[in-house]
């Protein structure tokens, strides 16, 4: 190879250097706690929520250990910009699926490794609407949240700065607001969405909101529009807690033990948990004592762990006196509608998450169903596209080959429809065991009448958009996206597992903080809300410092918002934003 102009790029990695992108590195040696030492917090799962919690609690001076079942990625070494080569970003262990409308489990569902689902998410980060928190009182379906949009709003704004989120300076839906970073340029699929919507008079948000840098952000470069976001973004432009919060957490003394699978949470004598048992990287059992345990394992693994931790006195599983652990699991309707265009679309170019419309988000009395949906750009790479075409067109063999040769002419748009929380959609324990001998999760999923009507309407609407944009042929695949629920929060201990801060109703020093605590899901992608909830829970825990350290009961008072806990390099960046409250448009 020819020598580059100024010599070779970088000499061999220095020992102990941990790389998180072309210019981001972690240098400090990580703090190590001994297993006998009782730490303040043990966090199970360093994913979207876990990463944010870890960082904030460490910054506030607590002794925190994060146990993560997957690896601590060295992104320069471990990640590849390749669809097939990125399977290891997912939770690939055995899971059993069932019900009348079984969810496709396996890859493409939940993350495995530090950063969790935020490593492979597309990065769409719309906020929930104020109405999402009052679904039952407004529309008579689902359930109300124990908190309101306004409780969460400051944390939305905070996380949008920390990630940071790129999007328009004025975003009209829900509680109107603007974004810290400017919107992204569009590629082929976004152009189709924008054209279609504009021709039908539907409002559309172009170039965001997405947690992808549109300008460089401290030591994280801006997006280079190569489109491997779901494969992990080697560049570091897309936010994952691995690149946005974990480096700061380690700087402030948090310990992350990777490849450590937590098998059970230990109950102590006074109705309090005492720590966790886990399998270390050599698959040997180990323990970690902690004053507070926070489970952040996501919608399937969190209920599984609580159920697997059943012990005398807690035969139904921990924190499950209500019997709701594992119930009210939700997934969003994620139908992908694809249009074939004469011109080249090149769906692989640029981040799949780019533009969306929330014009149909709210309940519309003209419709025969409650709640609504969003329409978003998606961009399956060839393997995912082949699977979709197999389902959508029944393409196989030579026919599939022919369709695949047409890949660059197809524009896919995703429905993101709200499916309501139903009691019969559950996570339970199966007979089958995983590599550690732990019972695996069985996931049961059924659609109900409202869900089916909503999905039908939504897919027709997306077809209209594609046809308005000039599609010659339109096909669709029924899919689901974004698992949430199964350990829902609520004010009533009889119908929910945790309260608005993630504290379990039954066990005061056991918290759950991840996607599983969402009572309803709106038609916004859940990642931003999950991370914002984690920041709020962290503020609560920090404000309860004395009670935690002395083992007293918690006050359950809303904490003040801590603006000083953001990761290094958050402040002093970004565009002036329009604060929407006064400008509210219908």
């Amino acid at each position: 190879m020819k020598e580059p102009l100024l010599g070779s790029f970088k000499a061999k990695p220095e020992p102990g250097e941990h790389r998180l992108g072309p210019i981001q590195e972690i240098h400090v040696p990580m703090r190590k706690y001994s297993q006998d030492e009782e730490v303040d917090f043990c966090i199970v799962g360093v994913g979207s929520a876990g990463g944010v919690l870890l960082q904030r609690l460490a910054r506030a001076g607590f002794r925190v250990v994060g146990l993560e079942a997957g690896p601590f990625w060295n992104t320069e070494r471990d990640w590849v910009s390749d669809e097939a080569g990125s399977y290891k970003l997912y939770w690939n262990d055995l899971r059993i699926t069932g019900g009348k409308n079984p969810l496709a489990l396996g890859a493409n569902n939940s993350g495995h490794g530090v950063g969790g689902g935020s490593v492979h998410w597309a990065g769409f980060t719309p906020r929930f609407h104020p109405s999402d928190f009052r679904v039952c009182s407004r529309d008579g379906v689902g359930v109300d949240w124990p908190i309101s949009y306004w409780d969460l709003k400051p944390y939305y704004a905070l996380l949008e700065k920390e990630m940071p989120v790129a999007g328009p300076a004025y975003y009209p839906w829900g509680d109107p607001h603007g974004y810290t970073y400017g919107p992204h340029p569009t590629a082929g699929v976004s152009n189709v969405l924008v054209n279609g919507c504009t021709r039908l008079g539907i409002g559309v948000s172009i170039g965001g909101p997405v947690a992808i840098n549109s300008g460089s952000h401290a030591d994280r470069p801006h997006c280079i529009y190569r489109g491997f976001c779901i494969q992990g973004c080697k560049v570091g432009a897309k936010q994952s807690t691995l690149v946005s919060h974990v480096p700061d957490a380690i700087n402030y003394g948090a310990e992350i033990r990777d490849n450590c699978m937590v098998s059970r949470i230990e109950m102590g004598p006074q109705g309090r948990v005492t720590g966790v048992t886990y399998y270390d990287p050599d698959k040997k059992e180990a323990r970690q004592k902690a004053r507070v345990v926070i489970v952040c394992g996501y919608a399937i693994e969190t209920p599984r762990l609580l159920l697997n931790s059943a012990c005398p006195g807690w035969e139904q599983g921990l924190a499950n006196s209500s019997g709701t652990v594992g119930k009210y699991l939700m997934a969003q309707a994620g139908n992908v509608v694809m249009g074939r265009f004469d011109e080249l679309i090149r769906m692989y170019k640029g981040p799949p998450a780019n533009s969306l419309t929330e014009e149909f988000y709210e309940t519309d009395p003209k419709h025969d169903f409650a709640r609504g949906f969003a329409v978003q750009t998606v961009g399956p790479l060839p393997i995912a596209f082949a699977k979709q075409m197999m389902v959508a067109k029944g393409a196989w063999g030579w026919g599939l080959r022919r369709v695949m040769m047409d890949y660059n002419h197809w524009a896919p748009l995703g429905v993101l429809g709200e499916i309501l929380p139903w009691e019969d959609n559950t996570v339970t324990l199966a007979e089958e065991k995983d590599q550690f001998g732990l019972p695996v999760a069985r996931v049961t999923f059924n659609l109900h009448d409202n869900d089916r009507k909503l999905i039908n309407f939504a897919t027709k609407k997306v077809e209209d958009i594609l046809i308005a944009a000039g599609a010659r042929e339109v096909v669709q695949e029924q899919r689901y996206a974004h698992l949430v629920g199964a350990c829902r929060m609520g004010s009533d201990p009889k119908t929910s597992v945790v309260d608005g801060f993630g504290q379990s109703h039954d066990i005061p020093n056991l918290f759950v903080c991840d996607g599983s605590i969402l009572p309803t899901q709106g038609s916004a992608n859940p990642g931003l809300t999950i991370q914002a909830l984690a920041a709020r829970t962290a503020d609560y825990l920090i404000s309860e410092r004395e009670n935690i350290l002395e083992g007293r009961p918690f006050s359950r008072i809303s904490p003040p918002v801590r603006h000083d806990l953001s990761p290094e390099g958050t402040s002093g960046r970004g565009v002036p934003r329009l604060k929407g409250t006064a400008l509210k448009v219908k």
């Binding site: 924008v194 504009t198 559309v204 170039g207 280079i224």
Partner: protein, 350 residues
């Protein structure tokens, strides 16, 4: 230029001479245009030749700074103002635009405030240039993959383009106002004696060393063709280089995208050539400059059309201006042409 017209009589009375009128562009104009227009252009030309166009150049400074400011405002918005320093050129351009326009009406502002703001603008442009160079260095591969990173990284010469309005503002500060006739007689007479005391009504923007005085005097009297031509050449180079790689991003899809690329070296050569050759200053320079101005106008039209043709078109104006063809960039190219034209009308000392 109504002001200029009413001054014609005063000028005649004061005995202002018009030398060498029939050369170059002026000659061409004389032959082809009706009398009334010729009279007006003659006055304008004379004002320029004698450095009596402080008001006009202050306006031009203000306007070009406004263009540059808007351009950098949305370009940096694309970069999300991810560093606080990215606000400085926006704020400074806005300030320079205001001061420029104010300076057109107020001599004190033009002489005192304008050069200060212009100087800061120039400094900021250099700082910006350094940051852009660093920005490219920070991209994967940095300066080892110069072509790719120049194209994909921050526009390396764009900050220097902003320095041009700073330069114009600086020049403005030294000029005389259009109606300053009595004054310039006096100063012209005192010119040449090295210890001549500056006229009492003359405000010296800074130091009074001999060289500075001479240079200042030259500018006051319109003897700075070389300087202006050089500035035009550099400005053309910066803006042409921008066109080169921006159009490259679009794969030169339209043939017309080549035109600024072709004109840039010509304008550059004409500007540089003017330093040595009076002939070039009166022939090539004005012709290429006019072409550059026209090209800028045509470019602005095509860029606007490009924006309207984007998905969503006029329904999403802010987004489409942000990511469409840079609507103001061709006008900045035209500004280089304007400076070239100005240079060709100025005087020089041999």
């Amino acid at each position: 230029m109504a002001q200029a017209l009413s001054n014609e009589k005063r000028r005649r009375l004061a005995g202002g001479t018009v030398e060498n009128r029939s050369s170059g562009l002026a000659g061409l104009i004389e032959e082809t245009l009706p009398k009334a227009i010729i009279r007006d252009t003659t006055i304008v030309e004379q004002h320029i030749r004698e450095g009596q166009f402080q008001r006009s150049l202050a306006l031009v400074t203000g306007f070009s700074s406004l263009l540059g400011g808007l351009e950098v405002a949305y370009e940096h918005y694309r970069g999300s103002y991810s560093q606080r320093i990215m606000y400085t050129p926006v704020v400074l351009s806005g300030l320079l635009a205001l001061v420029g326009i104010w300076g057109a009406f107020n001599r004190r502002v033009a002489r005192r405030l304008l050069p200060v703001v212009s100087g800061v603008m120039g400094l900021d442009a250099v700082v910006g240039f350094i940051f852009h160079v660093r920005g490219i260095a920070r991209k994967p591969g940095g300066w080892r993959i110069p072509v790719f990173n120049l194209i994909m990284g921050p526009p390396v010469l764009a900050p220097l383009l902003l320095a041009i309005s700073g330069f114009l503002g600086m020049v403005t500060a030294f000029l005389r106002q259009e109606e300053d006739l009595g004054l310039d007689r006096q100063t012209t007479q005192s010119y040449g004696s090295s210890n001549a005391k500056p006229n009492s009504s003359r405000l010296t923007p800074w130091g009074v060393s001999h060289e500075a005085l001479t240079l200042e005097q030259d500018i006051r009297e319109g003897y700075f063709q070389r300087g202006m031509a050089l500035a035009a050449a550099l400005s053309a180079l910066c803006s042409g280089f921008e066109a080169l790689y921006s159009h490259y991003k679009n794969n030169y899809k339209y043939k017309i995208q080549w035109t600024p690329i072709v004109l840039t070296p010509l304008l550059f050569a004409a500007g540089i050539g003017t330093i040595w050759s009076r002939k070039i200053a009166h022939t090539l320079l004005p012709i290429i400059s006019v072409l550059a101005i026209l090209n800028g106008a045509v470019g602005a039209f095509f860029h606007l059309r490009g924006i309207l043709r984007r998905p969503g078109g006029a329904k999403h104006p802010i987004y489409n201006i942000l990511y469409g063809a840079p609507i103001l960039a061709p006008l900045l190219f035209a500004a280089s042409g304007f400076m070239g034209l100005l240079a060709s009308l100025l005087r020089r000392r041999d």
